[in-house]
């Protein structure tokens, strides 16, 4: 039996959610210039709305071609343009995979294994991500289904264990410092929402109502972010600003019965998410590269991307300043805006001008 790729909308939701929540677990306040927790929460809400706004051009394209990715549409309009976009999207996903791996390494060698070398965890992570990308989006999304339940249960468990620590007096008005920090927080969150670009490429692999899936994804992600932010704020208060990884600290202080600390749970969840996200982005990068390679060389796309990922992440892990810079507005949000909003919008407008054509996946 020849198998076609089948990813349910719910599975897509879980993959994207888990990929997005990864950044929340390793959020470090220094990177965001110590914005108050409640301000960040309001910023998340604003960011969610901005993300939905950014997806409007993609939705217009999807409405016309529900079974085609943005690359398929580009290839139909103009083959060289499709090649350029494939390179751009592929590079975007590869850079984000490198960033994910490097920030993962930074956390691991800072908080968990301070005595270890930085390259060994990266080699292992890239190896697992390679395997994940090799088996494909279906197993990745199925594993995401299990991980989703695990993450949910562990989050609830830790939240319940922290009940004695919640202090309502830690709550500060989100507009305490005015509106400007809210915008900064929203912008920072938007910078990290690289999964928006992933949606554009996963369209042909998804069965079901993609629009409702994306809406649910945004909603659940927002709820999760707000819950994490609220928990951090109420349990830690100003103490969160003294820790490099406040969310990790939450799990360290959570106690329940004989479980004196739950940072192992946090670490396990976080490693799962890091590997899943890196695997997803590696898969997408190879997917884009295959689009431009000739038939006989498509099989080298994944190994090539994996090697680049490994080399890039080992290098980036040692460049602390650059690690932060990739999430800055210029380093992060401009490419995102271009690829998520501008390119689909231009394609849609071009298609409108030239007349609509049938687009197939793999065009």
């Amino acid at each position: 039996m020849n198998r076609t790729v089948y990813v349910d909308t719910r599975q897509l939701l879980m993959v994207l959610f888990l990929s997005r929540i990864f950044t929340a677990l390793t959020f470090t306040p220094q990177g965001d210039e110590r914005i108050a927790g409640s301000t960040v929460m309001l910023g998340q809400l604003l960011s969610c709305l901005l993300q939905l706004l950014l997806l409007v051009p993609a939705w217009l394209l999807y409405r016309d071609h529900p079974r085609a990715s943005v690359l398929d549409c580009a290839n139909t309009l103009n083959r060289p343009l499709g090649g350029i976009l494939a390179v751009l999207y592929g590079a975007f996903f590869l850079v984000n995979a490198v960033y994910t791996a490097a920030s993962f390494d930074f956390f691991l060698t800072t908080a968990i294994y301070p005595n270890s070398s930085s390259w060994l965890p990266l080699i292992l992570l890239v190896g697992v991500a390679w395997y994940g990308a090799h088996v494909g989006i279906e197993p990745l999304s199925r594993v995401a289904g299990f991980l989703f339940v695990g993450v949910l249960l562990s989050g609830v468990f830790i939240a319940l264990a922290l009940i004695p620590r919640y202090d309502l007096s830690n709550w500060v008005s989100p507009l305490y410092d005015g509106v400007e920090p809210v915008w900064r927080a929203a912008w920072g969150s938007l910078t990290r929402s690289t999964e928006l670009a992933a949606v554009l490429l996963l369209v042909p692999m998804v069965k079901g109502n993609l629009r409702s899936g994306v809406l649910w994804w945004q909603g659940i992600t927002l709820v999760a972010f707000e819950a994490i932010g609220l928990g951090t704020l109420l349990a830690l208060g100003e103490y969160a600003g003294t820790r490099l990884f406040p969310v990790y600290t939450l799990s360290t202080i959570a106690e329940f019965s004989i479980f004196q600390r739950m940072d192992a749970l946090h670490m396990a969840v976080w490693v799962f998410l890091a590997a899943l996200k890196t695997g997803l982005y590696l898969f997408l990068a190879a997917f884009c590269l295959r689009d431009i390679l000739p038939q006989g060389q498509k099989k080298f796309a994944l190994p090539f991307c994996a090697v680049l990922l490994l080399v890039g992440s080992i290098w980036l892990a040692r460049q602390g300043g650059l690690l932060v810079g990739l999430t800055s507005p210029f380093g992060g949000v401009v490419p995102l805006l271009l690829l998520v909003a501008v390119c689909p919008l231009l394609l849609w407008l071009w298609e409108r001008m030239r007349g609509r054509r049938e687009v197939h996946h793999g065009a």
């Binding site: 039996m1 599975q11 594993v143």
Partner: protein, 516 residues
Amino acid sequence: MFEFYKRWFHYYKDSAYAPPKTDPALSQRLGENLLDNMVTIRQLYANSEDLVTRGVQVSGLSAQLLFCEGMVDNQAFAELVAEPLTSLELPDATPASLQKWLREESILAIDQKEFYTFGELFTFLMSGFVVLLLDGVATGTALGIQGFNFRGVSEPTTEINVRGSKESFVEPVRINLTLIRRRIKSPTMKFESLTVGSKSNTSVYLVYLTDCVSQDLLQEVKNRLAKVKMDVILSSGYLQPYLDEKTRSIFSGVGITERPDTLCAKIREGRIAILVDGTPFALIVPYLFHEHFQSLDDYAQRPYYATFIRWLKYLSFFVSMLLPGLYVAMVSFHPELFPHALLLNVAASETITPFPIMLEALLIHVIYEIMREAGLRLPRPIGHAVGIVGALVIGDAAVTAGLIGAPMVMVVALTAISSFVVPSLYEPVTVLRLAFILVGGMLGLYGITLLLLVVGLNLCAVNPFGIPATSPETPFSLYAMRDVLVRAGWKHLGGENLRVQDLPGSEVPEKRGGAQ
């Protein structure tokens, strides 16, 4: 780079092994001359001593009766075959009229078949049939009056239930078919016969319900079995790799059972069972991951208790796979995860033992596997000695001698007990356990997490016959979960039929079964 090794490998392969070949003489048709037929038979049979031939005159015509010694019921032969044949007096008997009499006017055996080739002759002969050859007729008649000895229907040895049936499959496939037929008295249940093995000519039966099974699924099973190119099939396990997907997975998409009631329950869900003559284990395809945690007892007990037992099985699976690795990882890399009092005990025990914790864990688990294997293979009279040795090796004596720590003994004991709760997963769990110990000892919780993810991806990549092995957990179906995480009551379960090809993620084109 590997060309040299490839040539070296094939050289040794070619010089010692050759692929199975079918003897072309076996497809030769029978002749009309009885003497010529007998000469050919003796040649092909290599004058083996177990062939019994008896020439007889039937209504003045020459005939030969052949059978394998010890395979025929002598009394039935005398009453049903010898007496009628020898006392037959056909007027104006000719080979054709005698053949017609055999075909249309006599019942010498319940199972009476005609055949035309020497290959079929030997197949019937070695299946315990009595073969009758007539001079002047190029057709043989096989009479099914088998009388060979076989093991009686007994209690299952690997799938023991408390409230379920105590019958299990036996070696002769025809007995197994009756065990199944007695349980589903429906004309929609079909047995389809195949022959595999160029030398063994093993009978293989496909069992399915025509109104439940997907024809595409059925055809795929047949296609895969048609690719079996072996000369001897001695066990259902020989066929399993041909039915499994190509993905190199630790987990198989083919299940096995020795219980007829379990088989009936599976085929009711649109699955196909494969019975192999000579082995009491049937294969079930497709087999999904959650089925390892189901047993027939679940459906005989109250739902709340069955649900509890099912959760116990899930827990046991993870404990048996992960506990030793987690323990090693925590002691080596994350001692802060131990409660304070426990940490002090663990530290005290580690001080007195000479081996690193990873080596200790590997050693003790390998010793346990050796003892378990020895217990399986030992003759029963001295089997109890394994228990005595085991208690010494993995017990207080070893702790007192300072070879292993007391916590490790507890870990091994708990792991061993947990692994018996889900016996169908024993093989992958055993290997994975050792892998997790290695990874936990070298890389800590980080390594265990990564390996767990790899195992998860490996499992999720399995699609037996186009159906995800992890369905209905993921892709998720709430309705189908009524028999996965919990065991819903029979009033609910029996109300509608769930077919395996209808599960989410299934790529089987034809969803609902149809009568042929």
